[in-house]
Symmetry: D2
Subunit: 396 residues, 4 copies
């Protein structure tokens, strides 16, 4: 029988039942006024989650990768320079995308496990007297290493350097799970996906775009049609869409934001922090540590657990799947085997997280890793029971 | 947000996603041949789950209580004697139902925590020289105490006494989760409900009826219409139903049996036993014990946990619900407060059960009970990891 | 491929998508406060639909037949007299049920096609000087013949006769589709089912019960447990239920009533009348007529169409199903073959009804009946386009 | 209340219930073997529907527009020449996309209402002695005008000209509804979307790619990442996906193809033809005609109905939506107002189509157009009843 354990991959995340129902809708004529009625709350909701005070929200039937591509193709031209730090698989991939699109990427190589290097960024910007750098790319939460970066710090660095570049932020695995402040941080494009904190199926790239980035599209010469913001905004203005929209996901997005806001965004962030901290307590109780270089970098959505010497993180992930029907994330790229990843974002309860920790422990014991069964669970229990808010039993 | 922890009440149980989908169907004309095509596999599937070699399966849009009522009203007449042991809330309720229907119930009062008293039953039957006892009622699994009874033993007692009474078995919380042998045990009526081992929503009483019980309906004078077997069987024979059937539940039943049989009924029973044994190991690790009087009585679908002196089981259940969003069962009747109940039947994985145990432990700690966090979890982990079969990741 | 034409049986009716979603829910602990939060709106909603000003609403996991049984077993004793007119299959079945439960039914045989005979009822009541008649049974809408009866008229007859009998009304195929006035008509028990005007799957008997009927349960000696009102009301008072409730159907009921009330009950009734009148215009355009004896008896939920001499209504129903995938109702009992029935209740639009009429016409042509293709459709179109209110495109 | 009439827009189409269920799935780890098990049947199914004998199937979380973009960016370089006829809004848009991507489009302007001009295409290819034309773009079914083009004829023209260009076919509104022969027609890239003949929600671009087109990606210099075939094929080979896939849509695609194949693809095409022909009979009975220039061009998936002089097709579409809750398609671009469009593809029955025709007639009468109510319905009825195959009642 197909059993339904929660997943602990760092996205796609567990989908609440009511979100699934909101997405699962009959066919609607997207050229009718009904579409506009459904679209507007989704767009307005994203605006609130991102904390935008101006600019536009763009929804594209695509993924985070498509969101990255939309960000750069709508604002930049071949040969333009962008500045980016590389410190994990996902920061790498965005850089690679830029290079494929003939952008000149000034890469700040940074050890995996660290976050965006503020001083180096500021230094690079100061060195760019001619303002060739058109955009700074920042990965808010590096899903591969479980590291969050200080976006406010990047903005401060840009301001300190007096540099006019745009700030593009990959918030795919942070937005709607960790605090985000589009307006406060001076973000020009924020990229999110439906399948992480928004708790939807994959299939929607979600972007916040500042007026400055919108203005940039007038001169941007990278080719685009599917991702074209201008077509989008022109259609939105008429209550339409430039091609067939992913209506169900848009309806689901509006509903998911309703859920998040009925819990309270601050409560959502606090819950993610609490769940994450419990996971970290378990990790330390196992005698291990997060891969992130320092506590200030710990992600509240995913923990990459450094495995003991001689142990193989990938083996744990495979065993958890095959023996216990539970999905964790493997280490990617240069940390393959050296970590396994526990996603703890989206719809999750303390009880669910404890089940994940318990399964991880069983796998460790099965694989002969040095761990005491129940030790991580107990550490997380102790933390959770002292910090949890009362939750009402789900009436749904 | 409405979080979706598994429930650990002893029914209704967690519903697999595909069962929900099977139940959720558009309107079908129940007077068309399509209904018969849908009905037959459900009936045939129940026959296999019950291990019937003859007799009929009856499906009524009702519940286990309705199934009890159907059993007696179709086969008995006012003033008839039935023999029943009372050792828990559910055996009590069936007795009460019989009394309301003007049956003369010969009650063998048995301490809660024990099972059906074979010797006393045999003795009572032997004493009934005139064969006034028309039926023996047996509660296969007393949901209130977590006690299973030996139905084969009751049949042996009846045979030893040479008594012609019918044998009616309440299998509501056992059937489809624990081995059941309608033919082998000489059962005359077995009563099940949709919402336990069959993993469906409540709303369907499921009965297996022997030829002897069917014959009894010819002379039974207790009034019935909604529950009337004769109407049912006459309609079934024509591919119909005497009134509007619960089509979705019937479709879901057929699908649920497909799931059970694709896992293998023996594997389903083994899984229930394994999950239950893990729970019991946790209970002992907590320094507590199941309420069932002896290990041979331990139910594999529900464990009533005796709480330590001075502790209140109901408080634990309330705290688990209000603080952790998790549902356990309270003690009922004379064991109110003295136990709390962990249901471990239906769609459950080791990971889910561990989450339940972890939450129970947190509640105990919160309530000041003497327990070491993680202790029960560790005992269950150790047992599970040594006994679990590989399960494939749910592709569904 | 399984195509999804609307059904035109007189129940179960087409289920709105959002009602299906409301019914399709995960497992909820029915002993938790969450159940009470879900139950109360359903009960309160039924109270408004029935127009009750006092008394109780009872919801039983059962069907209309179960509702009939609950009505009589909770209020009457063996040998009690009830008065009922028989003028169709469903009035017959309730009478039969009473007889099986040892009630003495004074039957007023009435030609099928007519409604409840007010004068005869008044006469019978006046003749019952000793007030042996404890209840008058009335079938508000005889589903077999498409005839509505005048319940206010029956109440007037009872009052005129000064008779204290209770008034029990079968509103299974009228309630929520045609005006009903529990308080105004002095109804003592109204019986509805989930699968008609409430647009839910079958599986819920819905009853309104007056204080007088509740008082009657104190002395009623017909046996009942599953259907026992006293257990129900005692449990309801504590936010509970006497056994496992059909939680999904109860949630769906609350939602369906929300839908009905957001349309406006008067608008719902007006829509049913308009759809029905269009069907009747089509029937006359075909040169046929409703089976109901006179226009004041025309049901707004089902039309039994008298077929031309030499034609077989059942053949039409079978052909519609096998060739066109569309479900109509056959004639039952003494009108088998002489009529076919078009159900036009629940979630239906003008467009849907026109598709039903168009299919009926094709079947008639296929069977060689004298009909002009498009004639009935045109008559209904003409009526609908002159009377329809603007409906918003479904945004769901 | 939100009523659920079928839609008659030319896509997205009505979604079968079981397809909705197949799409609506819980979260699956797309890096686990479960994903490969789910992905392979979808890909293999598309291969059969397209009639591919070699090459690759590509599935992208996108739409038909994204499919167009993927086709050209993976195979062409800036400045490459493509040949395309423009005879409707959708052929126009693909041309526009090419131009935005810096391709040199040799456009054969063709009157709207006509199909791809074979002679002109052959002439253009013969004139291209230097083989600058790298690809011929062909719109198999022009959704704006209801015109199908002769793809086999284009292939013949290419062969006759001895031209090595690739053949790219937009089959968005034809594939899975009208015969398609990837191998037989020598197609190099076929573009389809999920939301038309495949009866899924929008959100998936579906492409068939020939070995020749795959080889072209080695030298193609148009930038792409999200749409990159090479990344896709490398990931597919390992049972993976280059980013997060739209798992539910992929599962739904496999299921939808199961439905199509269980009906039989030839039967699906025949059904579409039959439904379309009935619509056309209605159109002629109204005294109107399809916009397509000649019968050999009539599309079996959408009919653009030329409205009488002085009438406004857009007004009809708006009235149908606002008054009758039914969705038709407006005329686009140069035929705005001059036509209205009836989509008749995907999950549709004769009964549903008749409801659409009946509503169209009511709108015409409401708008004062010269039409006899029921006339088109009758013409379609006559045709359908003579040609329909028996369909089994939906048991789902």
């Amino acid at each position: 029988m197909s059993m339904q354990n929660p997943v602990f991959i760092p996205g796609p995340t567990n989908i609440p039942d009511s979100v699934r129902k909101a997405c699962d809708m009959g066919t609607l004529d997207h050229r009718s006024p009904a579409f506009a009625r459904l679209f507007k709350p989704a767009v307005e909701g994203v605006r609130r989650v991102l904390k935008m005070d101006e600019g536009e929200v763009i929804l594209i039937p695509s993924t985070g990768t498509g969101g990255w591509e939309a960000a750069v193709t709508n604002t930049l031209s071949p040969g333009d320079t962008v500045l980016a730090a590389r410190f994990g698989m996902f920061s790498h991939r965005w850089i690679d995308l830029c290079q494929r699109h003939k952008l000149d990427v000034e890469i700040i190589e940074t050890p995996w496990g660290e976050g965006a290097p503020l001083a180096a960024i500021e230094k690079a910007l100061r060195a760019d007297k001619g303002h060739h750098i058109k955009a700074v790319l920042a990965t808010h939460n590096e899903t591969a290493t479980g590291v969050k970066s200080d976006i406010a710090g990047i903005r401060a660095a840009m301001d300190a350097a007096g540099h006019p570049a745009m700030l593009f932020v990959d918030g795919v695995s942070s937005i709607a799970s960790m605090p985000f402040d589009f307006a406060g941080w001076g973000v020009d494009i924020a990229v999110a996906g439906s399948q992480k904190g928004f708790m939807l199926p994959a299939g929607l790239a979600i972007l916040g775009v500042s007026p400055k980035a919108i203005a940039a599209m007038e001169t941007a010469r990278l080719p685009r049609t599917f991702f074209d913001f201008k077509d989008m905004l022109a259609s939105y203005a008429k209550g339409g869409y430039p091609y067939t929209p992913a209506v169900g996901l848009i309806a689901g997005l509006a509903h998911a934001i309703d859920l998040l806001e009925s819990e309270g965004l601050d409560n959502v962030y606090a819950r993610h922090h609490r769940l994450a901290e419990g996971v970290r307590r378990a990790v330390f109780a196992w005698g291990m540590a997060p891969f992130a270089a320092s506590p200030d970098l710990y992600s509240d959505t995913v923990t990459a657990v450094k495995v003991p010497p001689g142990c193989d993180g990938t083996a744990l992930v495979q065993l958890a799947a095959s023996k216990y029907g539970m999905a964790f994330g493997v280490g990617l790229g240069e940390v393959a085997g050296k970590v396994f990843r526990i996603g703890h974002l989206g719809m999750l309860t303390e009880a669910m997280v404890l089940s994940g920790l318990a399964v991880a422990e069983m796998c460790m014991a099965d694989l002969g890793w040095p761990v005491t069964l129940g030790s991580g669970v107990a550490a997380a229990q102790e933390y959770y029971r002292g910090t949890i808010e009362a939750v009402a039993l789900a009436a749904e």
